[in-house]
Structure formats: C-alpha cells, structure tokens
Symmetry: C2
Subunit: 412 residues, 2 copies
C-alpha cells in the first residue's frame, strides 16, 4: 500500500458506482457526449460551483437538488457540447432530464445531479438526451472501461481524459478515491461552496466508498479545492459552469468519523485533486508549458493570490513563456498592475533556480541557462515581494498561437 498522499499507478474504481458514456449527437461529430454515474445505493454528496454571476441552468438545478435532498445523490448526468447556459428553456429542460432519468432509475428527481459543458447561449437539444437515456442506462458498468467512457463523454476541447485515484488503509478499513475531470479552456476557477457547503469549463467528479455525511464531505472538498482547483489558470476566463462534485457511496465501510480517517481522507482528496488540477492545466487549450508559480513574502494570503492571478493572466507574460523568453520585466509589470501595493525595490524574481531580478532591478544571470529552463515542458517561477510571510502557489501555462486558433474557430 502506498502512502495516502501518493496516487495509485492504476486507476481504481471505488465500489458503489456505475459509469457510462455514449454519443447522443449533442456535439458536432460523432464523439461521446453524454455521461452517467449511478450510485445504486445512493451516495452522500458535496459540491462547489463557479462564483461567476452568470450560472448555467444545471448548476442552479444541481444546487437546489442537493439542498432539497439533504445532500443525497443517486445519479449524475453530464453532457458536453452545450453549456445549457443563458438559454430560455435551460432550467425547464434540465429539470425534465432529471425527472426522466430519475423515473427510469426508480429514484426521485432531486437525487439527480446534472452538469453541462460546451457553448453558451444555444438551446440544449434536450430531445436527443431524453431519447438516448435507454442506451445510456444499458451502457452502465463498474469497470475501468466504463469509467473511461464517462471521462471521454465529458470532454470538450480536451485532448485526453483526466483521471486520478488513491487507495488508502486506515485502521482495519480501506477506502478508494477516484477523480474524473475535464478542462481545456475558460479555466480560471473561483469556486465557492453551495448552500450545502462555460463553455469549456472545469468539471470534476470525485467518488469514494467511505461512509461520510454531506457536511464532512463539504468541509474536506472546500479545503482541497482551495489548495488545488482554485489555484490554477489556463486563460484567465472564469466559466459559468465550473462544478466540483464529491460523492461517497459508503459501501467501503470506512467511516470518516473513525480515528485518523479524516486525516487520511483529506490527504487522499488533496492528492487526487492536485493531480487532476495539474492534468487540466497541462491539457489546457494550446498549452506547451506548465508553470509552477510561487509568490512569497506577501502581506497577506489574499495579496499573494492577487499577485499570482495577475501574473497568470498577463498575455505578455504568457506569450514570453511560450517563446522561452526570460523576459522577467513583463512579470514585474504584471505585479505592478495587480492592484497590490508592492514596493518595487523589494521584488525578487527567480526563473527555475536562477535569480534574474534582485531588489526590483536586473541582476546578472545566465540568459542561455534561463532560456533552457523555460523551454522545459514544466518549470518554476518564483516571486518574492519582501513584504510579509504570506505565500501563494499557482499552476498556470503559456499562451500560444494554438490557443488563439482554437478559440477563433470554436463555433464557426
């Protein structure tokens, strides 16, 4: 058994869930675009949603369902190819889909959790989803192949499915945690808890067999997301559809209340979320370089985060990274424009292990070595503000012509 924070090399499927993914004709082309997760015995649930003021219909319905069901979920239904956001019929068709699926499962509609991702402002072709329900249910399975189908069905501009799993032992019990995610563009999540607790969009589903209350799950999910999904950015655009859902089937027998279990679970959850967050950035639209950005010495955590977000959103910083250009002046300009009252003469910047800016000014460095560092697929950028002790770590990426090309021709 690996240590609780290490990811499993194999993708492990926790008991108590069945998965499916089929093609329902929502996406252009014939790709998989309708996914289902069923918890035949039900599951406890917690969720986080985007803080974008425009929220797609499934987020509104999903939040209401969690509230009215007291955090119980029987099934999750996800379509890609359409965000079901800012449409006239959005809520109505979303509720209809939940009702019809619930009926077929012998469940109640408020125990169905819906998600959508894709283009905003186009009516959801709900008829195709309703028609596809029998095929979707037939496709259910609890093996890895079924999980893979689900993972592919929720993809939009993603080039590969995103999965991570951990199994851990605690006392006599064993628990499994599996995460499935999609990302690609419009990735700059700012998640907030729901009452219980895009376009391209971040969708994350986490499944475990632990026994846990919705409140326990919500607390853990909030903590894990704050250190993972809320610290990534692909393009600085926060989606209308970002959703993170954590389900616990309780079939594994390990109680979250048991001695030491919470700690193990928290570590496992953070490991899985961290891996999925990294996979989302690495597979972001047009991404060639993943940048581990660390802001140290800020006056507060909020200021550290604000500086990190400003750097991660600067087109000039991101295009320099695309070219392996150690142009740290652009990083300084982004820091200065962040709105945080920094003292320019205290700022230090490191590219990889090399310091390139000392006390806010150029210092001698090996430009060729810096260029080599920035050409690696993953590299570190560190900023010291010299004002306090607060730190933020952020995972971001470069901005390439491929990103622009992809999004110039998204719909047309």
């Amino acid at each position: 058994m690996r240590s609780p924070t290490s990811l499993s090399r194999r993708i492990l499927v926790p008991p108590g869930f069945r998965f499916a993914g089929i093609a329902a004709g929502i996406k252009a082309g014939a790709g998989l675009d309708l996914g289902l997760v069923e918890a035949p015995q039900g599951a406890t649930a917690a969720a986080l949603f985007t803080s974008n003021r425009i929220r797609a219909a499934p987020l509104q319905v999903g939040e209401e369902h969690l509230e009215s069901s007291g955090g119980r979920v029987r099934a999750v239904i996800v379509n890609s190819g359409n965000a079901n956001c800012s449409t006239r019929t959005g809520r109505r068709v979303c509720q209809l889909i939940c009702e019809r699926l619930a009926k077929r499962l012998g469940a109640i509609p408020r125990q169905v959790f819906p998600s959508s991702t894709g283009v905003i402002g186009v009516e959801l072709p709900a008829g195709r989803i309703l028609q596809a329900l029998p095929r979707l249910l037939e496709a259910r399975g609890d093996g890895l192949a079924s999980v893979q189908h689900f993972a592919r069905a929720i993809m939009t501009t993603d080039t590969r499915p995103k999965l991570a799993a951990v199994r851990f032992r605690c006392g006599k019990g064993t628990a499994t945690l599996l995460g499935v995610a999609k990302g690609a563009g419009m990735i700059h999540p700012r998640l907030r808890p729901s009452g219980y607790g895009g376009q391209a969009t971040m969708l994350v589903y986490l499944f475990s067999d632990v026994v846990a209350t919705p409140a326990q799950l919500q607390r853990h999910l909030h903590a894990a997301a704050a250190r993972t999904f809320n610290c990534i950015s692909v393009d600085g655009d926060t989606s209308t559809n970002d959703t993170v859902l954590l389900l616990a089937s309780g079939t594994g027998g390990l109680r979250l209340g048991a001695s030491g279990a919470e700690q193990h679970f928290a570590a496992a959850l953070e490991a899985v979320c961290s891996s999925l967050a990294e996979q989302i950035v690495a597979d972001g639209e047009g991404v060639r370089h993943v940048v581990r950005l660390r802001v140290e010495g800020a006056g507060s955590e909020a200021e550290a985060e604000r500086v990190a977000r400003a750097i991660a959103r600067s087109p000039l910083v991101k295009t320099a990274w695309a070219g392996g250009d150690p142009n740290w002046g652009r990083i300084l300009a982004a820091i200065g424009a962040s709105g945080v009252p920094v003292d320019p003469e205290r700022i230090e910047v490191f590219l990889g292990k090399q310091q390139v800016c000392r006390r806010g000014a150029a210092c001698r460095f090996d430009e060729w070595e810096a260029h080599r560092c920035l050409r690696r697929p993953r590299f570190d950028v560190k900023v010291r503000l010299g004002q306090g002790r607060a730190v933020a770590t952020f995972l971001t990426c470069d901005l390439t012509t491929d990103y622009v090309r992809l999004n110039t021709h998204y719909r047309s």
Copy 2:
C-alpha cells in the same frame, strides 16, 4: 475653419516647438529611436503617468522635474527600444541625459522631460544617447517632416506613426493643437495625475501654442484622458511607462482664460486625444478588428467601467472577435466574472444593430448578418445591464495569432 471638435485633415504644427528624430543605435536594426521636442521659449506643462506600481525611471524623474520646475518644460527627450525600467542605473543615467541635454540647450535639467519605451529590465545604453545628442540637436526643425521623424523615433512595434491635429478660432485668436503618440502592446492605460496634476507602452505628447498655466493644462488633460486614453485596451496589460504630456508654448497669443477659450480648447483636446486613442487601438499588436464597446444601464460609472474592462480583457471574447464569431455567450461569461453584482436575467447584448441576447438568454437573430458585422474592421458591441443609468464606452480589439507571434519573439 472647421468646427473645433473636427480634426484637421492636414497635420498642423503649432508655433513654439522644434522636433527631431534620429537613429542612435538603441533599437536592434537601424531604425529611428531617439526623439526630441524643444520649446525654445519654454512651455507650460501637465502630465499623466501610469498607475502601475512599478514605474520606469523616466516617469519618476519626469514627475520630479515637473514638480520642481513648477510645470515648465524646455525639452522632451524620448528613446524607444529600452524602457529604462527596473534597472540598477535607471535614475542615474536618466538624470545624466537630462543634465547633458539641458547644458547643450542652455537650460536647467529640471526643465527636461524624459521618456523611454521598450524592453524592461535591461540597462539603458545611455552612452549611445549622450553621444547622439549633437546629431539630435542638429536635426531639429519646425516643419512637418521633423514632426514625422519624432513620431517615428518613439515607435516600438507600431507599424505607423500616430498624429492628429486641430486648429480652432476663438474670438480674435487662433490656436493649434498637435498630438503625437505611440502604442502597439501592453496597452491598457490607467493614468493618474502626477503631483501636478512598458515595454511597448502608450506615450502621448500634445503640443499647443495657447497661453495656459500648468494647473489649467492639468485640469483639461485629466478630463480628456478620462474619456479617451483611460477607455482603451489592446491586451489588458498596463505598462510601467505610460505617459501623457501636454505642453503649451504660449506663442499663439490665445489665452486659455479668455471668454470661451477653455471650452474650445477642451473640445480640441478631446478630439485629438480621441483620434490618437483610436489610432493606438487600430495599430495594436496583431489587431484586425477595432471594437467600440458600450456598457449601458450600470449601477455606477465604476461598475460600467469594470464590466467594460472585463469584456475587453477576456481572451475568449477577443479570440471570438478575431474569427467574426457572434459567440455572445463569452461576453456574458466575462460580465459574470467581472465582480460586478449583475442580474443575469436583465442583461441584453447587441452585435452591431442586432440584438443577440434578451433578458440574459438567447434570442432569435440573423447569425449570418452578425457574422458579417463582426468581419468589418470596426464594429459595435453594446451591453445593457438594466440596473441603473451609468454608461461606459471603451475602445478595444481582437486577439489574433499575430499578437501571440509578435510577443513570443519580442526579445529572443
């Protein structure tokens, strides 16, 4: 004589100024990179500078000079190819250049106003500038050709010089106003008055022959910039070097205190600033479409501006514009993520004259007509928030692969 708010078809040079632009070897290649404006009889002055917390040495020195001289300027010296920002020797060499130039002009150093634009964090090759001073002074002239040389010498990634002029009559007096600017990238100005009052960077110089006090100039400049330069964005990155300088030689005889003169001057200034702002966006790095963005019905002007800036900075909105894609859902997502507490169900969006979103949802529109509208080099996007009466107008542009290409290879 044209009405005071109409631009002159010809570029008019106000009396009391001499211009020069030469190649001093600061830029790579042999382009013009050192500019001079001299006011032989001196001029009154007002300036606005970037609100970026990182400010290049010439902005610090220029602001101090204006303060200590009581708003008097004898000469302006500008180099392109190097921002003289975040360098060890920055202030020292900037002051040295001002001293040497002042000595040659028989002026005092605090009456020299310096500017720089180009790469950040690289020591300014001040020796080349000092060596070039005799040639620079020899090149002075008061004709249009000299103005053109100056306009070219301050360019970085600009593809063309930016000029605008107005001549207006008031009572028996006549006055001329000439503006010269450069822009291209790192254009998202947030100017603030100095005590008196990059990389690529916005630099704007405005020259008039009116008789005016520094305080009068500052008031007018602040008002004009608030409606023009502070309402444009190319890439959302605010420069460390943005500078707007207004000089009045007083040689024309028209006093700003005379009856009606202030009103005429204000209109002329806004016309010139507005034209230069438009030229800066139109010649922004990689720009193919200029977008006139109007946000109506906001709860306050600050909220209207915040929504406009959020739309103007969204990579997904800007790439959709690059492709002529009427994907208004991306505009909604940007509004929702702006931090302004909008009511999604009141938002309306217009592309050109066509409404594409009503009460926050898709409405029927002619997609082909919308596509045609967005393929024009200039088009209008209007957003109604339905919350109040405040309005913001903003000038912005698309994000193209050319922008990314230019900035991926800026230095390397």
